[in-house]
Symmetry: C2
């Protein structure tokens, strides 16, 4: 898969002839590269290592953040990031999302202009995994999910089987997290699957795809290979997805948040095996 | 293990009678709590969930960051965080590190006073795992590790065996990362082992313990259950530890950074099994 920063697409944001246009690149990076390692017995072996690329986001020419990404869906990642950080609230505001790997930059232009300093003034300096989230800012404005949607154990198994069958970067190289969005119907069709070096990137990219495609959360199932910490649950609430399914486990605050915010958490999920941690009233079992 | 915020210790920072004193709490949180889940077959089951607590750090009364932590070594975590973020550069500068779980706050006092706004003025807004690190700031000042230390495969196996034998929170509840620091001698004695909900917290806590105990990196082996991304390698370089060992894998940028900065990376590490990714000249095999 060569880097292709030349491909730029014009996407109309709406049905009407005068709908605003979003100019967007499709700039993937190769998922893995091969390297030589030395095993315990002293023998050399060729293995695959997942990519990790710095992508600096400029919003109306103002530097916002540098994301470390596998680079499989960089435009969706940046869009989801801006959406989840509430730096851009309306898709129609986006005029261009251009990723250029030669400079490691994503230039985002809005129609009416954003003043980043004003939007981020109150935020705390943060770093790394689980260190310094936008917790307070988010919680104040998040509404609990009041959903009477249900999912059957059979549909959950269908969803997990679908994900298991994917040809993933994880299977080739390990060391990446995957997220998927599936429709909550019997067959559990897969809408998006994104892998990235960090679980937050993968979630943000899915959020970016949903935004672009005007998909909403209530009739969906969100799957992640990563642990369900409070941040992950908050992102599910932002996306309004009532079902959050993880191959891994969870933390107390992830659980407390899910109970309070109306998210059904399913952990340690495999086909034919799982544990429901919160809002189990939404999980149905065959008659 | 009850929360014990009453215990405050005075630690002299040096050998001389007039050495400065660090006043420090020892305020642990219970590692796990029990919750009831519903399994695939509809049966209920009691499981352990690891804790996750918000701890807001105030440095000379200025809010710095809110860390989400398991709370096993909060004082060391905060000290390591301040050290690794270069907000406090000299241990003797610290007058007090007081954690109070009733308010979820850690109050840090320095002797000469720190102006947080000045120190953090140039930094980028960041969030979550792998999103927005202090990459640029760090790299500019980091020196490569030029070490002729070696570690034998036998010592590596001894280190891994020691860690495997620990009674960990991971074994009870999953969903946490662990880090350990071992001395690079035949028996590979264990100096510190910390578990936390994020791998960066666990590393920072070990860095905090090293600071307090005036332990340096060159004769040590650093172990983590987490993946070796660029941020993890940079932290090893900051700690001057030449050997970074992971139960998991790595990313391209972690590898590139390790090659350039002189860190020997050992991944997929178990007793009797591992892969050496960088600087294999430091790994010796029995005659």
């Amino acid at each position: 898969m060569p880097t292709d920063t030349e491909a730029v697409f014009d996407i109309p944001l709406g049905e009407t002839p005068d709908a605003p246009i979003l100019s967007i690149t499709r700039a993937r990076r190769p998922a893995t590269q091969t390297t030589t390692v030395i095993a315990h017995d002293g023998q050399t072996r060729a293995v695959e290592v997942p990519g990790e690329h710095a992508l600096t986001v400029y919003l109306d020419k103002q530097e916002v953040v540098t994301l470390m990404t596998l680079g499989q869906a960089p435009e969706a990642l940046v869009m989801g990031y801006l959406r989840n950080q509430r730096l851009v609230n309306d898709l129609a505001e986006l005029a261009a999302v251009h990723v250029d790997w030669a400079t490691g930059a994503c230039a985002v232009a809005t129609r009416s202009g954003v003043d980043v300093a004003t939007l981020t003034a109150k935020r705390t300096i943060t770093t790394g995994c689980g260190q310094g989230t936008m917790f307070g800012d988010w919680l104040d404005t998040l509404e609990p999910i009041h959903s009477d949607a249900t999912v059957s154990v059979e549909t959950l198994d269908a969803a997990l089987g679908r994900i298991l069958a994917l040809d993933t970067i994880y299977k080739r190289s390990g060391s990446v997290h995957g997220c998927a969005l599936l429709r909550n119907t019997d067959e559990a069709p897969l809408l998006y699957h994104v892998e990235d070096v960090g679980r937050h990137n993968a979630v943000d990219a899915i959020s970016g795809f949903m935004w672009l495609d005007e998909e909403t959360g209530p009739d969906k199932i969100f799957y992640t290979t990563g642990r369900l910490t409070s941040e992950m649950v908050m992102k599910a609430v932002q996306m309004r997805v009532p079902f959050l399914v993880s191959r891994s486990g969870l933390t107390q605050m992830g659980l407390a948040m899910a109970q309070e915010m109306g998210v059904t958490l399913v952990c340690r999920a495999r086909v034919g095996r799982h544990l429901v941690y919160s809002h189990p009233e939404r999980i149905t079992r065959g008659a």
